[in-house]
C-alpha cells in the first residue's frame, strides 16, 4: 500500500555514488573533473617540479636558454566551423600555449590520427588550413606523424601537436605568481568560439554568423611584454571558459579574485544564444582571447597595448586580485551584490529549468 505524505516531514535521499570508475566526457571539459584526473592519475605518475606548476607550457632550461615546450590535442567536432577548422585551431592553440609562457613560438609538430574512410579532400583542406595558419604566424611544422584507425575510433580526425618556443629574457610568467593588488585584463569578448561550434552543430541560426575567435596571440604577448609592465601570469581561457582559468590561477597562487560583471565583454548574439540555452558565457570556450595579471602600476600601459592590437580592441580591465586566503573567485553584479564564480564540475549542460 502506498504511503501518502500527509505532512511532508519524511525525507529520502539517494546514497552517495562512489567516485567514478570510468572516464567521463566531463573529465575532458577543463573543469573540476579534469583537475581531478590530473591530480589523481597524471601528477602522481609523472611528478616533477616543472609539471607540478600546471601551466599550459613547460619552461625548461636547455644549455642556458629557457625554452617553452607544450603539447596539445585537438578533437573538435565539427571539423570545419565558422572562423576556422581543426587545422587552424591546432596551430593557434599551440602557439597560444607557448605565448602564455612569454615565449616566441619557433617550431611545431603535427601528428594526425585519421579515421578510416575520411575523404581525402577533407584531409587536404585541413592540412592546407594548418599550413596557412602556420605561415601567417611564422612557425614551421618540422615533424609529424600519421596513424589511421578503424572506422568509429576517431571523430573523423584528431590532431596532436607539440611546440617549442624561446622564452624572453627576464620573463617569469606562471599561474602561481598572481599577487594581491594585481590588475586582471581580458583581451576581448567571451564565448565566441564555444557558441560558434555549438550553433554550427545544432543548426542555430544567427542574424550575422557567430565566428570562432581562433587566433594566434603571440604578437599581442610581444606587445604586452614590450611595455615593460610587471606581468605575473598570462592565460588563454579555452575549455571551461574564463571561470576555469581564473579558478585555476586562484588555486595555484592561493589568492582571491574579484571580477566586475559590468566590465566583462560579451557579444550581443553570444549573450542571446547563452540566454536561450541556459548557458553562462563565463564557462564557454574561447580560442583567441587571453587574460593578463599585471602589477597595478602597469595596468593602463598594458590595456593600451592590448587595445592597440588588432585582436584586442574590446580589451577591458575585468577585476583584481584582492588578497591571499584563496582560492576564491567572486563577481560583483550590476546590483552591487557579490556572488561566487565557481569552477564547473564537468561540461556545462544546457538547461530547461
Amino acid at each position: 500500500m502506498t504511503e501518502y505524505a500527509k505532512t511532508a516531514e519524511g525525507f529520502s535521499c539517494p546514497a552517495p555514488l562512489p567516485s567514478t570508475d570510468r572516464v567521463l566526457l566531463g573529465h575532458g571539459s577543463g573543469g573540476k573533473l579534469s583537475a581531478e584526473l590530473i591530480r589523481e592519475i597524471f601528477l602522481p605518475a609523472f611528478s616533477n617540479p616543472v609539471l607540478e606548476r600546471l601551466d599550459d607550457q613547460a619552461i625548461v632550461d636547455v644549455g642556458g636558454s629557457r625554452l617553452a615546450f607544450t603539447t596539445d590535442s585537438f578533437v573538435v567536432k565539427p571539423l570545419f566551423f565558422p572562423g576556422g577548422d581543426i587545422g587552424s585551431l591546432a596551430v593557434h592553440g599551440t602557439i597560444n600555449d607557448l605565448a602564455m609562457g612569454g615565449a616566441r613560438p619557433l617550431v611545431m609538430s603535427a601528428a594526425f590520427i585519421i579515421e578510416e574512410g575520411l575523404p581525402m579532400q577533407t584531409l587536404r583542406q585541413v592540412v592546407n588550413s594548418l599550413r596557412r595558419a602556420a605561415d601567417r604566424a611564422g612557425v614551421s611544422i618540422v615533424t609529424g606523424d600519421t596513424k589511421v584507425v578503424e572506422k568509429g575510433s576517431a571523430d573523423g580526425l584528431f590532431i596532436n601537436t607539440s611546440g617549442i618556443g624561446r622564452v624572453r629574457q627576464g620573463v617569469a610568467l606562471s599561474a602561481d605568481r598572481a599577487e594581491p593588488g594585481d590588475t586582471i585584463l581580458l583581451s576581448g569578448s567571451l564565448g565566441d568560439h564555444g557558441i560558434a561550434i555549438l550553433a554550427h552543430r545544432e543548426g542555430i541560426e544567427f542574424e550575422t554568423t557567430i565566428e570562432s575567435d581562433s587566433a594566434p596571440l603571440d604578437s599581442m604577448v610581444e606587445a604586452l611584454l614590450d611595455t615593460g609592465a610587471a606581468f605575473h601570469c598570462f592565460r588563454d581561457p579555452t575549455r571551461g571558459g574564463l571561470s576555469s582559468t581564473l579558478n585555476e590561477i586562484a588555486a595555484q597562487s592561493g589568492v582571491q579574485i574579484e571580477l566586475d560583471d559590468r566590465t566583462i565583454p560579451v557579444r550581443e548574439q553570444v549573450r542571446a544564444a547563452c540566454e536561450m540555452l541556459g548557458l553562462d558565457p563565463l564557462y564557454v570556450a574561447n580560442e583567441g582571447k587571453m587574460v593578463a595579471f599585471v602589477e597595478a602600476s602597469g595596468a593602463e600601459r598594458a590595456l593600451r597595448a592590448m587595445r592597440d592590437h588588432p585582436l584586442g580592441h574590446e580589451a577591458h580591465i575585468i577585476g583584481t586580485v584582492t588578497r591571499r586566503d584563496g582560492p576564491l573567485v567572486t563577481l560583483r553584479t550590476a546590483f552591487g551584490t557579490t556572488r561566487v564564480v565557481d569552477m564547473l564540475a564537468g561540461d556545462q549542460l544546457p538547461r530547461i529549468c
Binding site: 501518502y4 505524505a5 525525507f11 535521499c13 567514478t20 546590483f335 549542460l349 538547461r351
Partner: protein, 371 residues
C-alpha cells in the same frame, strides 16, 4: 538588446524597488518563491543580500529535476543501458544521481544518451533511426507538459512507433497545498511560478490563497520581476490582504493558455505522483492516457524496482519545503558538492543547494537560520 528581458535587469529600477520594500516593511515576513528559475535569479544577483533585515526568502520545490522520483531515474538509466535504445533527455537530467549511477556515467559506459533542447528534436531522432527505440525522458512542470504532450501526439498521428516517452510530470498547486498545510509551514507569502501560470492561468492559486489566507503574486524571472513581486507581497502583508496578483502580466493571463492545456488534457491524465524527497502527493502528477499506452515507456519497458539506501545526512525534503536552507545542512559544501551530490537539489542547476553552492558559498553562515 534582448527585449522584454534586459529592461527587467535595470539596476536603478531594482534599487527603487528595494527601497520601496524597505519603506513598507514593519514586521518580519517569510516569503517563498516556488520556481527553480526564480531561485537561480535570486542567487545570481544576490537579491537576498539586498532584502531588509527581517524579510526572509525561502525556496520551494520548484525544480522538477530535483523532485523526479528515484525509481524513474533508475528506469531511465536502465533504458539507456539497453542496446538498440536511445535515451533522449533535457540537459538538466544528466547528472541527477539514481540509486547506483546517473545518465552521464551511463553514457560513459556505452549507453546511447542524447541531449535535446526540445521534444520535437527527440521525434526527429526517432524518425531518423527507425531501427532503434527512442525514449524521450519527459520531465517537467505544467510549463513543459504541453510541449511533451505535443511530441507524443505527433508521434501517434504519424505512427512513429519506435518513439515513446518516459514521463515524469509534476503539478505545482498540490505540492503547495501540502506545504502550506504542513504544521511546520512558516511561509506567509508566495511568489507563484510565472511560466507555469502562463500555461495554467492562476485560478487554482486563488483557491490556495483563500484556503490558507495567504497572499500570492505570480512572478516573472528577471531580477526586477522578482523584486516587484516581493514588493507587492510585502504591501499585501502589511495591509493585511490575502489576494492573488499578477506581476508577470506581460506573459500571464488569468485563463492561461487554453490551447496548451487542451493538448495536455488529450494526452495526459492526472495521477498520484511521488516527489523525491517529499513522498507521494495525491493528484500531483501526469501520466499518459490509455490511448497513448503504446508510447508510454513506463508500460513498454518492464523494469524491476530498485530500492535505494537513504542517506540520513541529506535534508533535501526540508530544503524543498523551505524549512531549512542549504547552508543549514551539515553536509553542505563538505560531503555534498556538485561533484559528489548526496541529493538532487545539489545536482540540478536549479536546485537550491546547487544555487547556494555556486553563487553564495562565501557568505554561508553556519547553524540554523530560524527559531
Amino acid at each position: 538588446m534582448m527585449k522584454y528581458l534586459d529592461e527587467y535587469r535595470d539596476e536603478r529600477i531594482a534599487r527603487a524597488l528595494v527601497r520601496e520594500i524597505g519603506r513598507r516593511i514593519t514586521r518580519p515576513w517569510v516569503l517563498m518563491e516556488v520556481c527553480g528559475g526564480q531561485t537561480h535569479t535570486l542567487m545570481r544577483y544576490g537579491i537576498d543580500d539586498l532584502m531588509p533585515r527581517g524579510l526572509e526568502l525561502v525556496h520551494g520545490p520548484g525544480c522538477p529535476v530535483c523532485v523526479t522520483a528515484l525509481e524513474t531515474i533508475d528506469k531511465a538509466i536502465a533504458i539507456a543501458s539497453r542496446p538498440g535504445t536511445i535515451l533522449v533527455s533535457y540537459g538538466d537530467m544528466l547528472r541527477v544521481p539514481g540509486s547506483r549511477s546517473d545518465l552521464f556515467r551511463t553514457k560513459a559506459s556505452g549507453g546511447d544518451v542524447r541531449i535535446v533542447y526540445s521534444p520535437l528534436e527527440a521525434l526527429k531522432i526517432a524518425r531518423a533511426k527507425p531501427g532503434e527505440r527512442v525514449v524521450f525522458f519527459g520531465v517537467g512542470f505544467e510549463t513543459t507538459a504541453p510541449a511533451n504532450a505535443m511530441a507524443v501526439w505527433q508521434a501517434k498521428r504519424e505512427g512513429i512507433e519506435n518513439f515513446s516517452m518516459l514521463a515524469s510530470h509534476v503539478l505545482v498547486p498540490p505540492a503547495m497545498r501540502l506545504l502550506l498545510g504542513s504544521r511546520s509551514n512558516r511561509v506567509q507569502g508566495l511568489i507563484a511560478p510565472g511560466h507555469v501560470c502562463t500555461v495554467t492561468g492562476y485560478e487554482e492559486y486563488e483557491k490556495l490563497s483563500a484556503d490558507f489566507h495567504i497572499p500570492i503574486v505570480v512572478g516573472g524571472f528577471e531580477p526586477v520581476d522578482l523584486l516587484e513581486a516581493i514588493a507587492m507581497l510585502v504591501a499585501q502583508l502589511e495591509d493585511g490582504r490575502a489576494e492573488v496578483e499578477n506581476q508577470y502580466c506581460r506573459s500571464v493571463r488569468y485563463e492561461g493558455n487554453e490551447r496548451a492545456r487542451r493538448i495536455v488534457g488529450e494526452v495526459f491524465e492526472v495521477c498520484d505522483q511521488k516527489w523525491r524527497g517529499i513522498g507521494m502527493i495525491a493528484q500531483s502528477g501526469l501520466r499518459l492516457r490509455e490511448e497513448f499506452r503504446a508510447y508510454d515507456a513506463h508500460c513498454i519497458f518492464k523494469l524491476d524496482a530498485m530500492t535505494a539506501d537513504e542517506s540520513p545526512e541529506c535534508i533535501s525534503a526540508l530544503i524543498l519545503q523551505g524549512l531549512r536552507k542549504p547552508t543549514d545542512c551539515t553536509a553542505f559544501a563538505a560531503r555534498c558538492t556538485p561533484e559528489n551530490p548526496l541529493g538532487a537539489p545539489m545536482v540540478s542547476a536549479e536546485g537550491a543547494c546547487a544555487a547556494y553552492y555556486h553563487y553564495r558559498r562565501h557568505t554561508a553562515r553556519a547553524g540554523s537560520t530560524h527559531d
